[in-house]
């Protein structure tokens, strides 16, 4: 009991270096992608790259890859809860039509007035 066995996984500097270089490359890529007209998919690409970057930070900089299963479960539960917040609220906003037939409050502003799903 008095002898401490140290089993902590130590991430090596070369891994950190590889991660930071990847993160910087992805930052350049997201700026580059923003200048290409992808229509609706600009935001999809931007968020996909951001999520990839965030995943790298969580797994390696924050050691989530090497931490205990219990902590990993907390992280996954947190992301899941965030998904509930975003997905349920946005699907409600996008799909709601009230009893007078008035479309959702999230409908877009255009010169001809509001126009949902455009």
């Amino acid at each position: 009991m008095s002898e401490q066995v140290h089993t902590e996984h130590i991430v090596q500097p070369r891994t950190y270096l590889a991660i930071i270089l990847t993160l910087l490359t992805l930052t350049g890529l997201t700026v580059y992608a923003a200048y290409i007209n992808l229509g609706k998919f600009n935001i999809v690409v931007a968020l996909a790259i951001a999520t990839l970057k965030a995943t790298l930070v969580v797994l390696f900089f924050m050691h989530a890859k090497y931490t205990q299963r219990r902590t990993q479960l907390v992280i996954i539960a947190g992301i899941f809860w965030l998904a509930i917040l975003l997905f349920m609220t946005l699907s409600d906003y996008v799909s709601r039509i009230d009893y007078r037939g008035v479309r959702s409050p999230i409908s877009r502003v255009t010169s001809r007035g509001t126009c949902p799903f455009s």
């Binding site: 009991m1 401490q4 066995v5 140290h6 089993t7 902590e8 130590i10 991430v11 090596q12 500097p13 950190y16 270096l17 991660i19 930071i20 993160l23 910087l24 930052t27 997201t30 700026v31 923003a34 200048y35 290409i36 007209n37 992808l38 600009n42 935001i43 931007a46 968020l47 790259i49 951001a50 970057k53 965030a54 930070v57 969580v58 390696f60 900089f61 924050m62 931490t67 205990q68 219990r70 902590t71 907390v74 992280i75 539960a77 947190g78 992301i79 809860w81 965030l82 917040l85 975003l86 609220t89 946005l90 906003y93 409050p105 999230i106 409908s107 877009r108 502003v109 255009t110 010169s111």
Partner: protein, 245 residues
């Protein structure tokens, strides 16, 4: 409380002590995810509803300054990770070096943010009664930091956006409210992080951190990386809405 050197009485081993601290920090970070998640949700709804105004507002931001800050913050995450590594392998002087570098990069971020915020005040882009998205286009002499060719593009974009959304000015204020709200809360987290780093640095100079006990470095590291992740999302959401025109 009973304590044997670094080991507090309620824990059996140092490893268990550290795992508990890490778990507690992650639970706190999950509450932070929900906190920023609510703001992101409000942003998403407004961005969808007033897309023209949000795109216009985004294009008035200085992408160069935002890009520099992204690089600075990512670099600070790297130096923070290296500080954690230095403490794990017992390289005591290196801990202080990397903590100092992280603090310096944090302050570079504040400096750039100050320049950006000041620019927005000069350009009348702060929500309130003086807010005017057309100010620079109509008063080029007061916006000398914006290049004439950029102003020409901006004039064209504002005309198009106004044709699509007659109430562009008030909706652009919503964008700038989101901008100041989100970047302001992010900066507040950075200020707290910088304070924590200074606190770590003092203990590091005193040689407190060893391979057996470096929990504060690890925990503050988790916090600093989380703040970095928030910026990873804020950068494309605020600066890159509609750059491809």
């Amino acid at each position: 409380m009973h304590r044997t050197e670094e080991l507090y009485g309620q824990f059996r081993t140092l490893e268990q002590q550290k795992d508990s601290a890490s778990l507690g920090m992650w639970i706190f970070l999950v509450t932070e995810v929900m906190f920023f998640g609510g703001i992101m949700l409000a942003y998403a709804i407004n961005r969808h509803t007033y897309f023209h105004a949000f795109a216009m507002g985004s294009n008035t931001l200085d992408l160069k300054l935002g890009g520099i800050n992204t690089v600075v913050l990512l670099a600070s995450s790297f130096t923070m990770a290296m500080a954690v590594w230095s403490s794990q392998v017992g390289k005591k002087p290196l801990i202080s070096v990397f903590l100092t570098l992280t603090i310096i990069l944090g302050f570079v971020f504040f400096g750039v943010k100050y320049i950006e915020y000041a620019q927005k005040f000069h350009h009348r882009l702060v929500p309130g009664r003086n807010f005017d998205i057309t100010y620079c286009v109509n008063n080029p002499s007061n916006c000398e930091d914006v290049k004439p060719e950029e102003l020409a593009v901006e004039r064209k974009e504002i005309a198009e956006a106004q044709a699509a959304d007659p109430d562009l000015n008030s909706h652009a204020q919503l964008y700038y409210s989101a901008y100041f709200g989100m970047t302001g809360l992010h900066a507040l987290h950075m200020v707290i992080g910088a304070g924590l780093l200074l606190w770590l640095l003092r203990q590091s100079f005193a040689g407190r951190f060893t391979p057996q006990w470096n929990t504060p470095v690890d925990i503050v590291g988790l916090y600093w990386h989380f703040v970095d992740i928030v910026w990873i999302y804020l950068f494309p959401l605020l600066y890159l809405i509609d750059r491809h025109k």
